[in-house]
Structure formats: structure tokens, C-alpha cells
Symmetry: C2
Subunit: 295 residues, 2 copies
């Protein structure tokens, strides 16, 4: 890790109906007390990886974002404005000289789009783009992998609302429990069938030889990074498929990964009380994801 | 309804660990971009009715609030500070002379407590009290009752997180759907058993003679107003019980009510395609709730 000073986050507010974008100081409050995000968690988001000075996998994020907005009956987001704000925020974050960027270790960043139903008193949605440093935890987990607790998901994602909403209180509570028990992350299973669903904020991918598998089933948010990986890996000769998977399948795989936009791919090194062996081809898998995100 | 000008909301920020409380202008942003309420819906709330210049049913709300905080592993809220902020906000809202209050129609208000995990960058919880006018919709529904759509709840409330969290995106989506179909509100049922669960933001109470019934079962948030009603009504000779109820029970009851703190009691005038007859004792039920809240 580099020793440079941490960079300030950059925020750009987006006019929800496509007007101007404007910079907002991150050390000033942004959201009003009566915003639906605050009173009801009534909003959506996307997290994107900024790599090589641009938002990776942007079209898939834009597509899911539009889809989430539609599911929540929010006005259709003007994506060209979101992309403009994203580009401006990234440019401001890096500064004119790409300061902090070195050839060996280009500084990555995390970009978040947030779009809420807005204030009760105005009815106008609230929307902003944030670009910030990637946390040390994320960097460490990429290198070291994660110990994962499996747990039945005792709530269901609403089938009629397949959106990436702000409603993560129960997920966060489960993550806190896992951390108290010495784990880094969680894989949810279906309480009725025991089938694997997804990570807390990631898609599960299992590798067996040249087969890549991700769980199929209800209540799984489609993963943008997993989609990019499967598309690219298929072209490289891997056989990629979404299929019902149980925990035994994960235990017997060559390797198991939690795949998400900012953390990219972290290997599961332990699943409950079972150590998962390090595969010979970990770097190959990682390189696949990097290549998939670079397109 | 009165013709007086609408009053400005009053906000008091509460120091989460029990320091000072301070007034915040409602027309200025309050919450930072990286607050867990905004990024994850990671927080809790209570809505209270302000009647006769004080927060009704306060001890039950305080108890549920503390319980919700515990379920989310938030630091225990210093309730005396929340009560202090509530009293200050109510006093400011009414002003020195109780302006706007008339003997025939004392101005009621809605008080909301919000308590979030706070900013990612500071780790300090965010907490505030808001007092505002009750919306015209609520006033109208008290008088006219509500048309209710029943619908299976296709998500479960996390059994391990029996807290009043900010995660209402799916509930709000269902309410929007109901309104598109000409209904005012929703009663959720268990998708497996068909048993009645609760309203979108209220507790269901059915009256048959001197029997008051509220649904028992998993995934029902304990209602503070229903609890106050049952305690008081029991003393008045009603037989009050939580029991499994199906939709037929509601259709055959003398009257069905959605009970919640600010709306108090609104009668269900239609359940799906069935008109529910007006009972002879509607005013009696309403008076019971008013008396229960006045203690």
C-alpha cells in the first residue's frame, strides 16, 4: 500500500431530470431530514470500480440502475447526465496530473451512484455521484481472501422488487454477527432448500477446472461483475453457467470467489469450519476478471 | 380543517451519547452523503402523535426504540435526551402562545425520532427529532376510513431483526401499487398460510361485539398504539387477544381498524372487493383509542 495522504472524496449532485451537475463539498450535509432515503430507505444505488481513470463495466451498471429505478417507479434517470457527473467526479478526484497514480500501482477508486425518491416536501428526487478511495479492508481482502460464514437468509428479497435498493439493515446485521464470530463475510442460503444464494454484497462464483458456476434461483440480485466475467471467460474457452448450487458443491470446487464491482474477486479461504484449499490457478481467475473489467 | 398557514417543521439534533441537543433549520441539509441511513438504510425510527402539547404513548415508543437499537447493535440511546429534545421541539413547534391551537380543534402534530449508524467517516451515530404538521391525507382518512387491498407479503421481515428499521422500500412499492388500483392502504397476509399479518405502517384490529382481536404470528411488528388500546380496553371490559386471523374473520367482524400512532385508528371501509359495513359503535372504538392515548 502506498504512503500518500488519503484523498478527499468528490461528490457531484445530479439534477434528477437532466439539468446541470454541480460539485458538493463532502464535509457539508447533503440530504434533508425528510428525504425518502432517510425516512424509508426509498432509493437505489450502484457501486462502480474506477480503474485506469474510468468507471469499469459502466454499461452493465447503467442498465441495472435504470432497471432498479423502474422497479421502484422512480423517474427514468438521464444516464448521460450520470455519466457526465461520473467523469467529472473522477477527473476531480485524480486532479490534473493524476496525482498519486504510479505506474506500478495505479490508484483505484470507488464510485457510487445514489438516487432517492427525494424530499417529502418537494417530491423531487435526490441524486448524486461520489468518488472516494477504496478502503484498506477491501485492498487487504483482495490479497488475503475472506473467511465466510454461511447462513440461511431468514428474509426474502421481495420478488416483485428486483432492485438494488438502499435496504441493507438486515444484511448489515448479519455481517456484524459474522465478524463477531471471526468471519469476514457471509454467503446466504435458501432456508427451505439450503441452496446457495449470494454474498452479502457480492455474487458467488465457483470454479471447477474450466467450469465457472454461479447460483441460479429466486432472490439473487444479478451481478454486473459476474456477468462481465462470464461473458469474457466464455470467449476464453471457459464453460460458464448459472445453476442451483449447494454448500457441498462450494466445498468441493477448485476455488470459490465472491465477485463484486469494487472488491472485484476475493477468494473464499474458509467456508464455516472448512478450509478451502488455494487453487493453482488463482492468478488466472483474477486475471480473467481484470481483463473482463478492462473492456 | 383550519385555514391557518402551515407551520414550519422543527428539528432538534440529538447528540447520540447524551450531550447537548440543538435546533437545526429544516430548510438546510442535515445528513451527510456517507451516512449509513442513506447508504444502507441502517437506522431505526419511531413516529409519535403529539396531542394536547405532548407526545402520546411515549413510554411504549421509548421502549420499542431502545429495543430496535439493541436489535441493530446501535449504542443504547439516552432516552432522557430524546425526551428532552422532543419536549423542546414540541414547544418550539407550538410557539409561546400555543398559536394555531383552538379549543374545538387542538392542533395535533407528528413527531419522528430517527437514529442511524452515522457517517462511515466518523462512526458516530446520527440522531434527530422532528415535529411537523399532520398531513391532510391522515386527517381525511381518520374521518372517511380507508379502502384496503390485501396482498401476500412476498418478503419476510427478518426474524432475527425485530426492529423498526428504515427499510421500507418494498412496503412503499406495494402501497404505490395499491393506490394505482384505487385503494388507500394495504393489509399484508402470510403467503404460505394466508393469515393476516399487518398493515403497511399499522396494526390490524378487528372488533366483534366486545372482543378485540389483533393478528398473532411471525413477522408482525408489535404495535405501540394497539398495545395501549388493548390495555385500556381490557380495563373497560373488552376481551382483547392476539390470535391468528384470516381475511374471512376480518370480513365477518363488526368493524376492522388500522391502528397506528399518528393516524390513531382508521376504519377499513372496503377490503378488496368487499364493502365492510359501518358499525353502530365506531365512535365508541375511536373514543377508546383516544382515551388510551391520553393516559
Amino acid at each position: 500500500m502506498s504512503l500518500q495522504r488519503r484523498k478527499e472524496p468528490v461528490i457531484y449532485v445530479v439534477e434528477p431530470f437532466g439539468g446541470s451537475v454541480r460539485r458538493h463539498m463532502p464535509n457539508l450535509p447533503l440530504v434533508y431530514w425528510d428525504d425518502a432515503a432517510v425516512t424509508r430507505g426509498d432509493g437505489i444505488f450502484e457501486s462502480l470500480l474506477v480503474r485506469d481513470g474510468k468507471a469499469a463495466n459502466l454499461p452493465r451498471h447503467a442498465e441495472r440502475f435504470r432497471h432498479s429505478a423502474q422497479a421502484l417507479n422512480l423517474p427514468e434517470p438521464p444516464m448521460h447526465k450520470w455519466e457526465e457527473a461520473t467523469a467529472l467526479a473522477i477527473a476531480d478526484f485524480y486532479g490534473p496530473a493524476g496525482a498519486g497514480d504510479t505506474a506500478e500501482s495505479p490508484l483505484e477508486a470507488k464510485c457510487t451512484w445514489t438516487y432517492t425518491r427525494g424530499r417529502a416536501s418537494t417530491g423531487v428526487p435526490t441524486a448524486w455521484v461520489a468518488v472516494q478511495e477504496i478502503s484498506d479492508d477491501v485492498v487487504a481482502q483482495r490479497a488475503k481472501g475472506v473467511k465466510v460464514m454461511s447462513t440461511p437468509r431468514l428474509w426474502q428479497v421481495a420478488e416483485e422488487l428486483p432492485a438494488k435498493t438502499l435496504n441493507y439493515a438486515a444484511t448489515m446485521a448479519t455481517l456484524r454477527l459474522a465478524r463477531e464470530r471471526g468471519f469476514d463475510d457471509v454467503i446466504f442460503t435458501d432456508p427451505d432448500t439450503g441452496q446457495v444464494l449470494e454474498g452479502a454484497t457480492s455474487t458467488v462464483v465457483a470454479v471447477k477446472g474450466t467450469k465457472l458456476r454461479t447460483p441460479a434461483g429466486k432472490g439473487i440480485l444479478p451481478g454486473t461483475t459476474q456477468a462481465a466475467l462470464f461473458e469474457y471467460a466464455s470467449e476464453q474457452g471457459y464453460r460458464c453457467k448459472a445453476k442451483e448450487l449447494n454448500l457441498s458443491y462450494l466445498e468441493e470446487a477448485d476455488s470459490v470467489w465472491l465477485v463484486s464491482s469494487v472488491r472485484t474477486a476475493v477468494r473464499v479461504t474458509r467456508l464455516d469450519d472448512k478450509k478451502l484449499k488455494a487453487p493453482a490457478n488463482a492468478e488466472e481467475i483474477r486475471a480473467l476478471i481484470d481483463a473482463a473489467l478492462a473492456r
